[in-house]
Amino acid sequence: MRQFANIFWLAGKELKSVLGDPVMVILILWSFIIAVILEASGAGDTVYNAAIAILDEDRSMLTRQISHALGPPWFQPPVMIAPDQVAPEMDAGRIMFVLAFPPGFEADVIAGLIPSAQLEVDATAVSQAQLGTDYISNILTSETRAFLSGNPEAPDPALRLELRRAFNPNGNPVWFKSVSSLLNQLSLLTIALTGAAMLREREQGTIEHLMVMPLTPLEIALSKVLANVVVVLAAFTLSLMLVVQGLLQVPVTGSLTLLLTGTTVYLAAAAAIGMFLGTMARSMAQFALLVIMVIIPIIMLSGGMGAIESQPDIVQRLTMVLPSRHFLAFAKAVVFRGASLSAVWFELSLMAGLGLAFFIASLLLFRRSMSLSG
């Protein structure tokens, strides 16, 4: 009881100090509003919007028809290109695909000679290259067939494959991006805020003042976790409702309560990581380097920028210790698949377990860092 009261009163003090700093408040708002909008609306699907150019040496009906079919949303409107422009444009990375029709392409098609169109692909972005090639190949085939049959509708093949996407029928990339972007902001802010709160108290000497009062390190640490979780959770909820659901029109299928519960668990885990880094670092510069070292893997290896399955086994095992990986799995399930607690309890308990581990580690470090600072 006493402990709870202590944590509560201390957390109140923390809250006031975070919200009392206008720069912090501005940065928090920036992260959860502007940054989320920028990131969600900016980055497209893998081939979405790829830059393509046409080198048309045939200038026929068919080649025009094919060029016409290559357009949004998969590609940017194609530009015509001269042969001597191909290499420089691709070298500069301005064009990803160049589709080249040889002279007499249409005539050869009509004559049944099966002519070849060449596709120059910038393969430095591997998956975009692969996907784009597949799309272009499909479009080439179907348009040629439509051209030959004189029917704008391609005839039905005998065995039709119907592709359907569950949970995001239109494949709108904003949905997923907005969730992974929220995760990035949550992680960066919570880790940096909690760690900095720890460091600042130590640098200003107020931690010593707390340590001579009848308070345990556990209470001091928990109050910081609590206060920062409350701040970030409030910002998250606001951003979820106003930006993600409101402005970006992303539907949340699952239970909002479950989502917020899971977010709280994740925030506690992230705050524990922040505490851990804050107690480990000897100076602000060291803390900053640690934050960068942790945040890059969190953003890039949690599944937001590439599927977990495609990581090599050893990296997959490493990323198991990132609570963010489990949070993204959890958030995807709840937001898009409408998963219930029974489907996500495993992710929840993993996050809680990892958070607890980091918290205990930082508590152990805490005492040690106190005696070193003296």
Binding site: K13, S127, L163, R165, L199, Q311, A333
Partner: protein, 926 residues
């Protein structure tokens, strides 16, 4: 020498100057003129505007309203400031505030010499002369951080005198310094002045006894001048016999004390009966060592209940560490301490309830109000509602806090803040009060009132008080004191007894006598070797830009970085680890897509189709799905990325030659993955249909019948450039260093500038003739070099460990890295301009750069595919262009001419960002 000092009668003329910090008025319509060629003292406690005035006169602070003429020119003119910069020397308040603690004495002085354009021989001569005169010569290679307070101040003085200033400003140079060093310091100043009588000195002090030595005094209070006269005149005007008393009497004419003095308590005698139980505090042989440095050396004492026991000594003599050991904050290396007979135990929360502690560094929670501060502590001690109300009702009037109850603690005057700190420390009515320098910086009158309260607590409530101070007059008010120096207790007794035992008249003299006994080899200082200075030629007009000054900052920064290798090693090893993890971890190939079949037909045809599908090798098959509910469940829990559903009439349709349909349900949550899976499914489907030979058994009818449709009419020949094998590593490997080479240098750079602002060494930039570009670019060069070193490490790793050959032009890559390093550090500089503290710098640098670097610079999604504002951000972000260059040089094998476009764009970022930072940097403090 310059004739100016003699020509004009005043060295600084201040007219109608006001200065505010937010709501607080530091100077209020001040008009003043300080005589030239004299030693002028500013007296008054902290917070009356002394430091602000000194900052304004020296040009370190920006003038808000009014006019200041220093050395005959207007200080609001940047040109005049640049000209006088070399004639003024300013030593800011705080022990060694403008010194670089990780540099040695020689390195510090070398740096200051270079700032004033002195050549190597001249610097060496001056450093030798100054250090010999100040007695620092034997310690030339000792880092400034490891000097005692007195030595730090002597070093500060050497740094100030290195360029023979005409006007020397010293802001509280002796605060916190031991009495012997203080005396030596003033003797030194006297020597210097007798050598160069034309030099004007403006000095401030909190010790009133020192003010007796000055020729002319300016007494300040609350941003205004109380009086201005020589010490003798001041004493005469007020009819007092010391400057301190004169100051108090001047103050009393101004304001009435807000505190009710507990007069009666003062008369009560000190307790002599310590017979009740164990002593309140007992220490035996307490020792604390940090490495090879002994902070506290075998200290023993015993304090009985209700006694006021004082620790007297300079900053850094071990007072604070002893107190920390008593409170359990830091464990003793050897020795033991008891509180009320119980050994000190950090884990014992009940013992902490009996102790109130007011630490030196604790300045309350500034963001809370007075009431909130008191309530927070009452709650943390669980006083309960009634007791809290009673304690508040008792303490608030007693400490004179009523007028401030709802004011933020940060905006309180220092004296009030100290009273609040004391109120907070006693809110739970502790039996022991441990106070670490509670009165430093408080004005004499407020200190008097504070001591009345302490005496009252001790006499009336029998609170044991253990207090540390560096004021001798406070020592006199203790029942017993220990004189401390360099970790050792010199003597412990009642103050009068100590004085009598040494046969002295003042405590200070007795202290010095004890110190001289303890270290008889005390360095002789103040001989006349300083006199040679006027043979130096008068320097020419200051150049606008000096490469030597710029390089002085570079050399210094480089030395500092070398002294803290942890940071450097950290960023090198950190980026190497990240490179490896990221390169292997981010794979763009989607493999082993978990999929399951939902075969509602179970015909030979359906099985043939599915087996052909499984052969494709992209998919990882899971147990088949039994029914629609299971399908939904397994998709919903994320187990499957793909479910292939074959309808019940599939086989029949195929056999009849009708159009058959297969449905592929793809988990669309991750749109990137879904897109890839979609294309694989289409590919596998085509593969099944193409395999007519193998699957002829079941599908022959189908394929034969519709074969004509499936024949290609035209083919597509893709040529995969740059990375024909479509491997991930050649694509990802070269794109990781661009991320790391921006984030790490930007943050290190931003923190480095913010740190100078926070700890105060930026004053050296404000008050010397250093230009803005010299300061920033000088520092930047070091971080550019670090970035290039990191670039070499990462490039070697990419080529050797990741095995990605550098096929293109190495020259282009190196040139690009150089330009990129300028851009990254320039960005760091710009961020640091927004931040006043290191915390904000780290925050702003991280939050503002992580997203564009990781998301918008073409690492995963090419910038040409971005949309809207993200694309603009991506285009205006240097990483985009260096990423293109790095991938171009490694994977595309491009040469210098093909990459020239990227290089040119990249070249623009660094100078623009750096120039913006230079423009945003203020040459004066606000």
């Amino acid at each position: 020498m310059k004739p100016v000092a003699k020509a004009s009668a005043s060295v600084a003329r201040i007219t109608a100057v006001s200065h505010r910090f937010g709501k607080v008025t530091a100077l209020d319509d001040l008009t003043l003129s300080t005589p030239a060629g004299r030693m002028v003292g500013l007296i008054g406690p902290d917070g009356v505007g002394k430091s602000t005035l000194m900052g304004l006169v020296s040009g370190a602070k920006r003038l808000q309203t009014g006019r200041i003429e220093t050395l005959g020119g207007d200080m609001s003119s940047a040109r005049h400031r640049a000209e006088t910069g070399r004639r003024i020397a300013f030593m800011p308040q705080g022990l060694g505030k403008n010194l670089y603690h990780d540099l040695s004495i020689r390195e510090n002085l070398e740096f200051f010499g270079k700032l004033f354009g002195q050549g190597r021989a001249e610097r060496a001569a001056r450093i030798e002369r100054l250090t010999r005169a100040t007695g620092l010569a034997p310690f030339l290679d000792r880092p400034a951080g490891k000097l005692s307070g007195g030595m730090k101040q002597k070093l500060g003085l050497c740094a100030a005198l290195i360029h023979d200033p005409d006007f020397l400003l010293l802001d509280e140079p002796t605060t916190g310094v031991d009495p012997l060093s203080r005396r030596q310091f003033w003797d030194l100043i006297d020597t210097i002045r007798s050598d160069r009588p034309e030099m004007s000195v403006l000095v401030s002090t909190a010790y009133m006894e020192e003010a007796e030595r000055f020729e002319h005094l300016i007494a300040m209070n609350d941003g205004c001048v109380l009086a201005e006269a020589s010490p003798a005149d001041l004493r005469m005007q007020t009819g007092t016999d010391t400057v301190g008393a004169a100051y108090v009497s001047l103050l009393e004419g101004e304001i009435a004390s807000p505190i009710a003095s507990p007069q009666a308590a003062l008369a009560a005698p000190a307790p002599t009966n310590a017979k009740e139980g164990p002593p309140a505090i007992k220490a035996e042989g307490l020792t604390k060592r940090f490495g090879d440095f002994t902070a506290v050396d075998a200290v023993s004492f015993e304090i009985s209940r209700g006694e006021i026991f004082g620790f007297l000594g300079s900053n850094g003599c071990g007072k604070t560490t002893t107190m920390k050991m008593l409170t359990g904050l830091t464990p003793a290396t050897t020795g033991e301490a008891w509180i009320f007979g119980q050994p000190v135990d950090a884990q014992n929360l009940d013992a902490r309830r009996r102790v109130g502690f007011m630490s030196q560094s604790f300045s309350l929670y500034g963001e809370l109000t007075v009431r909130e501060n008191l309530l927070l502590h009452a709650r943390l001690f669980h006083l309960g509602r009634d007791l809290t109300a009673r304690r508040m009702a008792d303490l608030v009037p007693r400490f004179g806090l009523e007028p401030y109850l709802d004011q933020g603690a940060a905006s309180l005057p220092l004296g009030v803040r100290q009273r609040l700190s004391l109120a907070v420390a006693v809110i739970h009515a502790p039996d022991i009060l441990i106070l670490d320098e509670p009165t430093s910086g408080v004005d004499p009158q407020a200190r008097d009132a504070f001591w009345d309260m302490l005496t009252d607590l001790a006499r009336r409530e029998r609170v044991t008080i253990f207090i540390s101070t560096h004021f001798m007059d406070e020592g006199l008010r203790c029942d017993r004191i220990s004189l401390m120096h360099a970790g050792k207790v010199l003597v412990t007794d009642a103050p009068q007894a100590i004085i009598k035992a040494r046969g002295m008249t003042t405590l200070e003299d007795a202290f010095i006598a004890h110190m001289l006994d303890a270290m008889p080899q005390a360095a002789p200082v103040g001989d006349t070797e300083l006199a040679v200075t006027d043979t130096q030629e008068t320097p020419a007009a200051p150049p606008r830009f000096s490469l030597r000054r710029l390089l002085a900052f570079t050399t210094r920064e480089a030395m500092q970085v070398r002294r803290d290798p942890v940071r450097l090693v950290f960023s090198f090893i950190g980026s190497a680890i990240l490179l490896l993890i990221m390169s292997f971890g981010i794979s763009q190939e989607v493999r082993e897509i978990p999929f399951a079949t939902f075969d509602q037909d179970q015909s030979p045809e359906s099985r043939a189709y599915l087996s052909g599908f499984e052969e494709s090798g992209w998919f990882l098959e899971r147990p088949p799905i039994g029914d629609a509910v299971e399908l939904e469940r397994r998709m919903a829990n994320g187990e499957l990325a793909l479910a292939l559903q074959i309808p019940p009439d599939f086989g029949v349709s195929v056999r009849r030659g009708e159009v058959a349909e297969v449905a592929a349900l793809i988990d669309g949550t991750d749109t990137n993955r879904a897109g890839t899976v979609e294309s694989y499914v289409a590919g596998a489907h085509a593969h099944v249909l193409a395999q007519d030979a193998q699957s002829a058994l079941a599908l022959s009818g189908l394929i034969a019948a519709r074969g004509a449709d499936q024949l290609p009419l035209a083919s597509l020949e893709p040529r995969f450039h740059y990375n024909p094998a479509m491997e991930s590593l050649p694509a990802i490997g070269p794109s990781i260093p661009p991320l790391l080479l921006l984030l790490f240098p930007a943050i290190l750079m931003a923190v480095s500038v913010a740190r100078e602002k926070e700890i105060g060494t930026i004053t050296n930039f404000y008050v010397t003739p250093t230009g803005r570009a010299e300061f920033l670019i000088g520092k930047q060069l070091v971080y550019i070099a670090i970035t290039l070193l990191n670039f070499v490490i990462l490039t070697v790793l990419v080529v050797t460990v990741l095995d990605v050959p550098l096929r293109g032009s190495p020259a282009a890559l190196v040139l690009g890295a150089l330009l990129y390093a300028v851009a990254a550090t320039g960005y760091g500089l710009l961020v640091s301009m927004m931040a006043r503290t290191q915390v904000t710098a780290v925050f702003a640098a991280a939050i503002l750069s992580v997203m564009p670097t990781l998301q918008f610079s073409g690492m995963i999604t090419p910038v040409s595919s971005l949309e809207g504002p993200a694309r603009i951000v991506g285009t205006l972000w240097p990483t985009t262009w260096y990423m293109g260059l790095s991938v171009g040089a490694f994977t595309k094998g491009l040469g210098l001419s093909e990459l020239s476009g990227h290089l040119m764009r990249l070249a623009a970022f660094g100078p623009v960002l750096t120039a913006l930072a230079v423009l945003a940097l203020r040459k004066q403090e606000r």
